[in-house]
């Protein structure tokens, strides 16, 4: 069999081929080669790397073939877009000829049909897995965004996961300022709604009472002097999703009555409208005030309080989270360091102790601010105690230490029982670690052990 036989064979099966000289220039080729190449004419003496950029970087391979240390090399499923916008797929092979003048034989095989089938198969299975990933990013993993491992955090996570499964239940979030009520509301929303469902947030304390009503319920043209067009209210904007009312304790009594009416019927009227509208929303309300006490003082409607209080989620203050303070701080360091493009990745030991011994009146918000500020000034990879300015931050926040809030009841109480309770709580918060528990009560380890023995706790 001579070379003509092989040429005919390759031509008939739509293979492209070329013989190359040592400089990788094309000496001879068949007509099919142009179909796969970056250019469709003047291929003679063109550089292979210009026609097939896929061969760039293969210098070592060409050298090994030239020196006959290797006979062949192949790359499969190269994609090329044709002039008609269709993708063609090809495999190419390089062979050594053993001829010093034309040392390389370059062969191209059309694999479009085979690749299209493979593409169809992988497309289907990948699409499903991608969708699962997207859903899990928005639902299953959302509670992982609540950082920490302490008992209060585990409880919070469990409650949020449970409520995520009931997308219409009204929820009251209660917690001190800065405990993450807005974030918890968003997590609740994302764990129970699709990605395109609206999440509408409004702070009742930030908007004047008259405006708040029109913002919530919307208005029709002519409802009041400046109502020149119809405007949808936030209730309507939130249809199919969540309305988050922050600082609900600041809402006026007349507006509370209107909100209660909506919660009872799920229907409302816009200002200046005679017809009712119906929406499906989850209402999440939040407050840092004691609504029960406000009811007694007649500053909050009792009926609305009971309507909101069906499901109440209490957000723990940061000072009750023990070592979680360090976990939360570490997460802030990593996310903020990426944002600020700084190589900081952790806290040193004294800085960690400083965080653990602080009272955190401003809770997680204060911790975030402290870490953000420390990152700006930190020069090394670890944040040091000197980088953390907790004192000045503390002065900016209203004090809410437990001692400030504690009042001796009129009929007194048993001091020994309080002492025992404090010891038990400290042990619980430190997972039985006595040194850490002693630290929490600002006692030496020996004093702490003496008191444990006194109360038969060891």
């Amino acid at each position: 069999m001579d070379a003509t036989f092989f040429k005919k064979l390759l031509d008939q099966n739509s293979f492209g081929y070329a013989f190359l000289n040592q400089d990788l220039r094309i000496r001879t080729h068949n007509r099919h080669l142009a179909r796969f190449s970056m250019r469709d004419r003047n291929l003679e003496m063109a550089l292979l790397t210009d026609l097939f950029p896929e061969t760039v970087g293969l210098d070592q391979i060409f050298e090994e073939i030239f020196e006959q240390k290797r006979f062949s090399f192949e790359l499969t499923h190269m994609n090329r877009e044709s002039d008609e916008g269709q993708t063609i797929y090809f495999n190419f092979f390089l062979y050594g000829t053993g001829n010093k003048d034309i040392p390389y034989f370059f062969l191209v095989e059309d694999k479009t049909r085979e690749a299209e089938l493979a593409q169809e198969l992988s497309q289907r299975s990948n699409e499903i897995r991608l969708l699962e990933g997207l859903l899990s990013a928005r639902s299953g993993n959302v509670s992982a965004r609540i950082w920490g491992q302490s008992l209060p955090i585990e409880n919070l996570r469990a409650q949020i996961e449970k409520m995520g499964r009931i997308p219409t239940a009204t929820i009251l979030l209660q917690g001190e300022s800065g405990t993450g009520k807005s974030m918890a509301a968003r997590v609740l929303h994302e764990s129970s709604h699709s990605s395109d469902a609206p999440f509408i947030e409004i702070n009742c304390a930030a908007i004047p009472e008259t405006l708040l009503e029109s913002e919530l319920f919307g208005y029709n043209k002519g409802a009041f002097t400046n109502a020149v067009t119809d405007k949808k209210g936030l209730l309507e904007e939130a249809d199919g999703g969540t309305l988050f009312l922050d600082e609900i304790g600041e809402m006026s009594l007349p507006l509370q009555a209107k909100l209660l009416s909506f919660l009872e019927t799920r229907k409302f009227r816009s200002l200046g409208s005679t017809s009712e509208k119906e929406v499906k929303i989850r209402l999440i309300a939040a407050t840092n005030q004691d609504l029960g006490a406000m009811v007694k003082e007649r500053r909050f409607r009792e009926d609305l309080f009971y309507r909101l209080n069906v499901v109440r989620i209490q957000l723990p203050p940061l000072r009750d989270l023990g070592d979680d303070i360090l976990i939360i701080a570490q997460n802030f360091i990593l996310t903020l360091a990426a944002e600020f493009k700084k190589p900081v990745n952790s806290l040193d030991k004294p800085a960690a102790n400083k965080l653990l011994n602080h009272n955190w009146p401003g809770n997680i918000r204060e911790l975030r601010n402290a870490i953000e500020r420390a990152l700006i000034f930190c020069e090394g990879q670890k944040i040091g105690a000197d980088d953390l300015h907790l004192g000045s931050l503390q002065r900016d926040e209203p004090s809410s230490s437990p001692l400030d809030r504690f009042k001796l009841p009129k009929d007194g109480l048993a001091f020994a029982a309080i002492e025992k309770k404090l010891l038990e709580d400290a042990l619980k918060m430190s997972n039985g670690n006595q040194s850490r528990a002693a630290q929490l009560l600002q006692l030496s380890r020996d004093t702490f052990r003496y008191r444990l023995e006194k109360h038969d706790l060891i």
Partner: protein, 175 residues
Amino acid sequence: MTATRIQKKICMLGIFGVGKTSMVRRFVFEKFDDSYLSTIGVKVNQKILPPQENSEHKMIQHNLLIWDIEGFDDKTKPLNNYFIGSAGALVVADLTRMESITSLPTIFETFQAVAPEAKLVLVGNKMDLVDKEAPTLVELTQFAAEGDIAFLPTSAKTGENVEAAFQKLGLLLAD
């Protein structure tokens, strides 16, 4: 000062669906398409970066040959032959899928076995779909810090940091 133009091959690496093709389309053609089309094999695109000054104060202009390679899978991984001659790689993880992060050690190991000297930049794509405190972002940031790998969160959809990621790789290639 005129820049020296250098042609370099770089690879796009990552499991399926992390947005490798979208990153390339955004960078090369300034386009984005929300629909997903899985890549079979390799598609090569070219883009000339703006001139950059390297650490020796020389002006370098890279003509990047970007190999958009099919994703790594549970059972299969791309042919090692695809990686031969690579000067660098942009390793892409998907911030909505933790599996795209847990697979990174295998991807790095496979690629570096063929191209040990290649420069690497790690990106966390789809940042438009997660918030700044997403566990995947935290995990990826930590992974990059531990491995001393340049890292950027990106969004091929909005274009955020896409050009910056390629520029970063270009800068590493220039040294």
